[in-house]
C-alpha cells in the first residue's frame, strides 16, 4: 500500500529501517489488537518510512535539526524494571505533588507501573492504562486512535506505529474532578544503550465535566533516551480542562511531544507547558475549536542553559465563530541554549467574533543564547479582534542599575529580574503543589538564590 499519491512505492527514507524492525518485533503484541488499530499503525509506519525524519529544509523544522535523533540507534527499553525507580525519584520529577491528592498513573520506559501508581476513587473518572482499554473496550478508542495521523508529521506517525501503552483518562459527562490527575512518564535510560519510548495519552472530558491533568516527563540526569509522545485531548461540549505538561527529561535526552486538542461548544481549555529538560525537545500543541463559544489559554515557559535546544510550535485554529484564545509563551535562555517559538493562529473564513491574543517574550542571559520567535496570525475573516507580539531581549540595564542602587549585589539583582520575568507564568499554575515546586525550581536555577519568597505580599 503506497501513501505517495500517484507514485510507485518509494524506497524507505534513510534511518527508518530500524523502526520498521522494531515494528516487526512487536507483531505478536499487536495480534491481539483490533483490525482498525493495526491498519492505523501500518499506515503510520508507511507514512513515516516514506518521509523519514524531517530535515531543516522543511518549514516546520527549519529551526530544529533532529539529526542527533535520526542517527542514534534507539532500542525499545528492555522489560521494564521498576526497581530502578524509587518513590523519591518520582517525587522529584513530579515536584513532590503529594500522593493521595489525586489519582496518579505512572509509566516507566513507556510501560505501566501499577506499583508506582495510586488508585483513583473518583466517581465518574477513569484513569487507566491505554493497553488495558485497547484489550477490553477498544471501540471506545476507535475515533481517536483509528484516525489518520499523517497530518501531524513523522513523529506522531512513529508514535502511532510503535506506542505500547499510555494513559487513558476519561471524565463522564457532568463529572467534576477536584484533584488533579497525574500522568507520569519516567525513563530510566536502560543500561546505557539509548532507549526509546512512545507514550500515548488519551484524555476525554465528557459533556460539562471538569478535569485537571498534569503530564510529567523525566529521567535521571545523564541518561540518553528518546521520548516520542502523543497526547490527544477531547473536550466535549461544556467541558473545562486544565492541562499541565512538565518536561524535565535528562539533558542528554530527546523529547518530541505532540498534543492535539479538540474543543467542542462552550468549552474551556488551558494548557501550561513547562519545558526545562532535554538536550533537544520539540513540543507541538495543535488546538482546534470545533464548536462556538470556546475559550483556549495556551501558556508556556521554557528555560534552557548549556547547549539545550527547546522548540515549541503551537497552532490555534479558530474554525468557528465566537471563540477566544489567549497565548503567552516565555523563554529564558542562558549559555549556548537555543529556543524556538513558532505560534500560528488561524482564523478561518466565517469565524467572526474571534478574539485572539498571542504573545511571546524571551530573555537572553548570555551572548551565545539564541531565540527564533515567529508569531503568525492568519486572519481570513472580518469582524475579529486579534493581536500578537514578540519581544526578545537581555536584562534591562536600567532595571539592574535600579536594584543595585538600592544596595543589592549584581548577581542578586540579576536573579530578581529573571525571577520577575519568569514567575508570572508560574503564578498562573493553579495546582498548588506544582506551583510551589516550580517556584522552588525557578529560585534554585537563578544566578544567585533569592532569600525568601519574592512574591510575599505580607511578611
Amino acid at each position: 500500500m503506497s501513501l505517495l499519491a500517484g507514485g510507485p512505492v518509494a524506497a524507505p527514507a534513510e534511518g527508518t529501517d530500524r523502526y520498521r524492525a522494531e515494528y516487526e518485533r512487536r507483531a505478536a503484541a499487536r495480534s491481539a489488537e483490533p483490525a482498525w488499530l493495526g491498519s492505523a499503525r501500518q499506515t503510520a509506519l508507511e507514512r513515516f518510512q516514506a518521509t523519514g525524519f524531517p530535515s531543516t529544509r522543511e518549514e516546520d523544522w527549519r529551526f530544529t535539526n533532529v539529526a542527533p535523533i535520526a542517527r542514534t540507534a534507539f532500542r525499545s527499553a528492555p522489560e521494564r524494571d521498576v526497581r530502578r525507580v524509587s518513590r523519591p525519584d518520582l517525587a522529584a520529577l513530579t515536584f513532590a505533588q503529594g500522593e493521595g491528592e489525586g489519582p496518579r498513573i505512572v509509566f516507566v520506559d513507556g510501560r505501566h507501573a501499577p506499583e508506582l501508581s495510586s488508585s483513583n476513587d473518583t466517581e465518574g473518572l477513569e484513569v487507566r492504562s491505554l493497553r488495558e482499554v485497547i484489550a477490553r473496550e477498544p471501540q471506545r478508542l476507535q475515533a481517536l486512535l483509528g484516525r489518520d495521523t499523517s497530518t501531524g508529521g513523522p513523529f506522531p506517525a512513529l508514535n502511532t506505529a510503535l506506542f505500547d501503552d499510555g494513559a487513558f483518562v476519561h471524565a463522564r459527562p457532568g463529572t467534576v474532578v477536584a484533584a488533579p490527575v497525574q500522568v507520569v512518564f519516567l525513563s530510566t535510560g536502560g543500561d546505557g544503550e539509548p532507549t526509546a519510548s512512545y507514550p500515548r495519552t488519551v484524555v476525554v472530558a465528557g459533556r460539562a465535566s471538569q478535569l485537571t491533568l498534569v503530564e510529567s516527563y523525566g529521567g535521571p540526569e545523564g541518561a540518553r533516551y528518546l521520548t516520542s509522545a502523543v497526547t490527544d485531548v477531547v473536550a466535549e461540549d461544556g467541558a473545562v480542562v486544565d492541562h499541565y505538561k512538565v518536561q524535565r527529561e535528562s539533558t542528554s535526552a530527546y523529547h518530541v511531544g505532540s498534543m492535539t486538542v479538540r474543543q467542542g461548544r462552550s468549552t474551556g481549555f488551558s494548557s501550561h507547558s513547562i519545558a526545562l529538560g532535554a538536550a533537544l525537545a520539540r513540543n507541538d500543541v495543535d488546538q482546534a475549536f470545533t464548536g462556538e463559544g470556546g475559550e483556549c489559554v495556551l501558556n508556556g515557559l521554557f528555560m534552557a542553559g548549556g547547549s539545550q535546544h527547546l522548540d515549541t510550535h503551537t497552532r490555534i485554529d479558530h474554525a468557528v465563530p465566537q471563540c477566544t484564545s489567549r497565548e503567552l509563551y516565555k523563554g529564558v535562555l542562558d549559555g549556548r541554549a537555543r529556543g524556538v517559538f513558532v505560534g500560528r493562529v488561524l482564523v478561518r473564513p466565517g469565524a467572526s467574533k474571534t478574539d485572539a491574543h498571542q504573545t511571546n517574550k524571551n530573555l537572553l542571559l548570555s551572548r551565545e543564547a539564541l531565540v527564533d520567535s515567529l508569531p503568525q496570525l492568519e486572519i481570513l475573516t472580518d469582524d475579529v479582534k486579534c493581536k500578537h507580539g514578540s519581544t526578545t531581549g537581555q536584562l534591562d540595564p536600567g532595571a539592574l542599575f535600579y536594584l543595585r542602587s538600592r544596595g543589592l549585589p549584581e548577581a542578586a539583582a540579576r536573579s530578581l529580574l529573571v525571577y520577575a520575568f519568569a514567575s508570572d507564568l508560574i503564578a498562573r499554575v493553579k495546582v498548588k503543589a506544582l506551583r510551589a515546586g516550580l517556584e522552588r525550581y525557578l529560585q534554585s536555577h537563578l544566578p544567585s538564590p533569592l532569600d525568601g519568597d519574592a512574591k510575599e505580599a505580607a511578611l
Binding site: 532595571a399 535600579y402 542602587s405 544596595g407 549585589p409 520577575a420 514567575s423 512574591k455 510575599e456 511578611l459
Partner: protein, 265 residues
C-alpha cells in the same frame, strides 16, 4: 553605624566634587563640575533641559555607561567613583529616580527588605526579621502617606506617576541614606502629590543627612527650602547662591546666565 556618622562629625564635608567630567555614549555632558556638600545641607541643582543635571545624579550613583572622563568625587573622604553602585548604596548614597523601574512579580516589601538587609549587613548590623521590618514599613509608610496595599504590590508595577515618586521617598525613608540625591522627583506631580512628597523629604532632613535636589522648576523649592541653589549650564555650575537664586531664575529664566570658561586647573 557609629563609624560613618562619627566620621561625618569629624569632617563635616560629606561630598566633594572636583572638576567632574563625564560623557554618555561618547557625548561629553559634564565639563567640570565643582560642588561641596556638607552634612545637614540641602542643595538644589537647577538648569535647563540637557544641562547635565540628571547625568550628574546618575554619575554619583554609579550608573554603568556613564563614563567619568576627568575629575574626582570624594564621599566622606573616600573615592566615590571607585565604588560599584551597590557599594555606594551600602555606604549611604541614595538616588531617587526620575523614572522608577517596574519590576513585576517582585513585591515592594521583599525588594526593600533585601535592600535594607544588604545595607545593614554591610554596616555590621543584624538583619531585620519579618516582624521588625513590618513595623518599620508601617512607620515609614505614614511619612509619605503611602497605602500599605501599595507597599505590598510588585515594585512600581501599575503605579501612577505620583505613586512611583512617593515610593522612591518611601524607599529613602526605609534605607536612611546619608546622602540622598533626588532626580526630578517633582516632575509630573500635581500640587497635592508634590506636597506629600515634599513633606516626606522635609521629615527626612537631619543634621547628619545631606540632600541634593535636582530639579527643573523652582516650584519644588517652595516646599523643600534649600540652603544652596546651583545653576548647571552646559555641564558646569555657572552660578551658586541661596534660595533667592531660585526665585530669580523663576523670574528671569536661564538665558541671562552664560556658560563660564573651564576653570584653570
Amino acid at each position: 553605624m557609629g563609624e560613618r556618622r562619627g566620621g561625618g562629625r569629624a569632617d563635616p564635608v560629606m561630598l566633594e566634587i572636583q572638576n567632574l567630567q563625564a560623557s554618555v555614549g561618547g557625548n561629553t555632558i559634564l565639563r567640570g563640575v565643582d560642588l561641596t556638600v556638607k552634612a545637614g545641607e540641602v542643595h538644589a541643582i537647577m538648569g535647563p533641559n540637557g544641562s547635565g543635571k540628571s547625568t550628574l545624579a546618575h554619575v554619583l550613583a554609579g550608573r554603568p555607561g556613564y563614563e567619568v572622563t576627568g575629575g574626582h568625587v570624594l564621599y566622606e573622604g573616600r573615592d566615590l567613583l571607585a565604588l560599584k553602585p551597590e557599594e555606594r548604596a551600602r555606604e549611604g548614597v541614595f538616588l531617587a529616580f526620575q523614572y522608577p523601574v517596574e519590576i513585576p512579580g517582585v513585591s515592594n516589601v521583599y525588594f526593600l527588605k533585601a535592600a535594607l538587609n544588604s545595607i545593614r549587613k554591610h554596616r555590621g548590623e543584624p538583619e531585620l526579621d519579618a516582624m521588625d521590618f513590618l513595623s518599620l514599613v508601617k512607620d515609614k509608610a505614614k511619612l509619605v502617606d503611602i497605602e500599605e496595599s501599595l507597599v505590598k504590590r510588585p515594585v512600581n508595577e501599575g503605579f501612577s506617576g505620583g505613586e512611583k515618586k512617593r515610593n522612591e521617598i518611601f524607599q529613602m525613608a526605609i534605607l536612611e541614606p546619608a546622602l540622598a540625591i533626588l532626580d526630578e522627583t517633582d516632575s509630573g506631580l500635581d500640587i497635592d502629590a508634590l506636597r506629600v512628597v515634599a513633606s516626606g523629604v522635609n521629615q527626612l532632613r537631619s543634621p547628619e543627612r545631606a540632600i541634593v535636589l535636582v530639579t527643573h522648576y523652582q516650584r519644588l523649592l517652595d516646599y523643600i527650602v534649600p540652603d544652596f541653589v546651583h545653576v548647571l549650564l552646559d555641564g558646569r555650575i555657572v552660578r551658586s547662591g541661596g534660595k533667592e537664586l531660585a526665585e530669580e531664575l523663576e523670574a528671569r529664566g536661564y538665558e541671562w546666565l552664560q556658560p563660564v570658561p573651564a576653570p584653570g586647573r
